[in-house]
Amino acid sequence: MQFTETGVMIADAFVNGVEQMDTVAVRASEVQITLQKQSMRPSIRFVNLQGVSISDLSTQKISVSVVGDSGLILNKSVSLALKATDGSAGHIGHPANSKPPGGLRTGGPTITLNTGPTGVDTVTFVAPDPSGPVTVTGTSDGARIGAAQIKVEVTGLVQLPLVDAHYDTSGYKAIHPDNHWVTPNHLGYLVGLANQFFFVTTEWYGTAKKLSFNDSSLPSGGLFDNVDNTGFWTYPHRTHRLGRDTDVRTTKDPNLIQDDLDEVRFIWVHQFGGTIKTEGDHWHLTK
């Protein structure tokens, strides 16, 4: 017998004309969703400037079952659906319900499974590119809804102090007001670069120049979309996902001359071992 509510069932019967009552504890059947891990990195997918598709998927197996009063219910159909959390992980003001929630198996955010003869089915969850919590909801006829939440995130990012005597920060937008999150190592390199550049330019010019750090990563990493250019949830910022790269203004900063940029390159590449790539009016500092 399958119940939709958990509690006490009163059994009332007439036996040979005599009413007999008894109570039976019952447990409602319920969809159960079991995760391999509560937290996982977002996927990375983009087409690079050379036209090559880059795909580094982040996946985990999700186990799905329906548990009733007497255990696993076999051959039971279950529908799973994914839902991303609006406004999470630093994405502010995007259209409601537009955030990509990732995929199930190789398809979209919904799938119908069957618990089969073992009572358990598994499905691969492919994390979305944007970070943020994703809720997995399972429904099955006559059973209570089951749900689980997956934190899609790059863990361990720290915020670059936004105010510092040796550098400026820039690039804030209403939809991404929190744009300077990096790995602790990257933070050390950025601060080291800014400090060294500050002191060298003081020696050269008598007055210091400051670098301006634009976008790094969002608080939980992941896709850093930029609606100014191509719209929501696209990737004009191909990188900026793991807290390991930061934009520094170059030609956009009229204060800097070629010697200054050479100094930045010398410090970042030949002292810190990082890479620099140029894109328009800024450089990507990666390390």
Binding site: I54, D56, T239, E263
Partner: protein
């Protein structure tokens, strides 16, 4: 003399094919212009020539400095450069020419640094200028590693640098070390001394110095080393001893003499 040596170095280095990676399109001749040890500190100076066969201006020059860099001179003349003392956790003396990168055929003024230690045979790196690559999307997966710029965009060779003092600073140990440096200078791949008979004389002087030293005849041992230094000087004048070998061996012979 310098031009003669440079011609020899050009001949020695220009046979190698110019590499294709950006930054590696240079060929250089590294001339040691001084190596002197005072107390426990050694200063080394270089004049780096961007050979005419280079297809890029010279931009970077680094020398390994395993004991750390004590001082590095910043040049304030018309050819400006910036300096560094490390790459990651490794100490290196480094110079980067600014905007007026060194054209093919030109030579830097002296590049000088000081470090605690003794003159030794160490690695140098030189890099040609190339514009910052266009991109911004190459390093963005967990499995991607950042290439070592010293490997992918610089050329490398051996020169005189400063290595930490050996743990045994006795005259006997330093004489043995001088013998090893002499042998290295006389053989491949360095070939800093190209006259085999001179190499034999140099090694004989060292061996004689060791005999005197072990017999307690310090003045005679010192005289053997003075003779050794004279041979080095004559060889440099004669073109069979490079500037690197001259400064390396002369400075180390002086260090030994001071400890006899």
């Amino acid at each position: 003399m310098r031009s003669f040596l440079l011609a020899g170095l050009i001949a020695a280095t220009s046979s190698a094919l110019i590499a294709q990676n950006p930054g590696q399109n240079v060929q250089v001749a590294v001339q040691v212009t001084a190596a002197n040890t005072t107390a426990d500190t050694t200063g080394v100076s270089y004049a780096v020539t961007n050979l005419p066969t280079s297809t890029a201006p010279l931009w970077l020059y680094f020398v390994d400095a395993p004991g750390g860099v004590l001082r590095i001179a910043r040049y304030t003349g018309p050819l400006r450069w910036t300096t560094g003392t490390s790459f990651g956790s490794r100490a290196r003396a480094g110079w980067m020419l600014l905007h007026d990168y060194l054209a093919a055929g030109a030579t830097t003024p002296d590049l000088h640094f000081d470090a605690i230690g003794v003159p030794g045979i160490l690695t140098y790196w030189a890099g040609g200028y190339f514009p910052v690559p266009v991109g911004g999307d190459e390093v963005e997966t967990d499995s991607t590693t950042i290439p070592d710029p010293f490997v992918v965009s610089m050329i490398t060779g051996k020169t005189v640098g400063v290595e930490p003092w050996p743990s045994d600073r006795s005259a006997q140990a330093l004489l043995a070390r001088l013998r090893g440096l002499t042998q290295s200078s006389c053989s491949a791949p360095l070939n800093w001394i190209t006259d085999p008979s001179l190499c034999g004389q140099l090694l004989a002087d060292i061996d004689q110095a060791e005999v005197y030293r072990s017999n307690g005849q310090a003045p005679q041992a010192a005289n053997s080393l003075v003779h050794y230094e004279g041979l080095i000087s004559a060889g440099m004048t004669g073109g069979t001893v490079t500037s690197a070998a001259y400064w390396l061996l002369r400075a180390n012979a002086e260090i030994v003499r001071a400890r006899l």
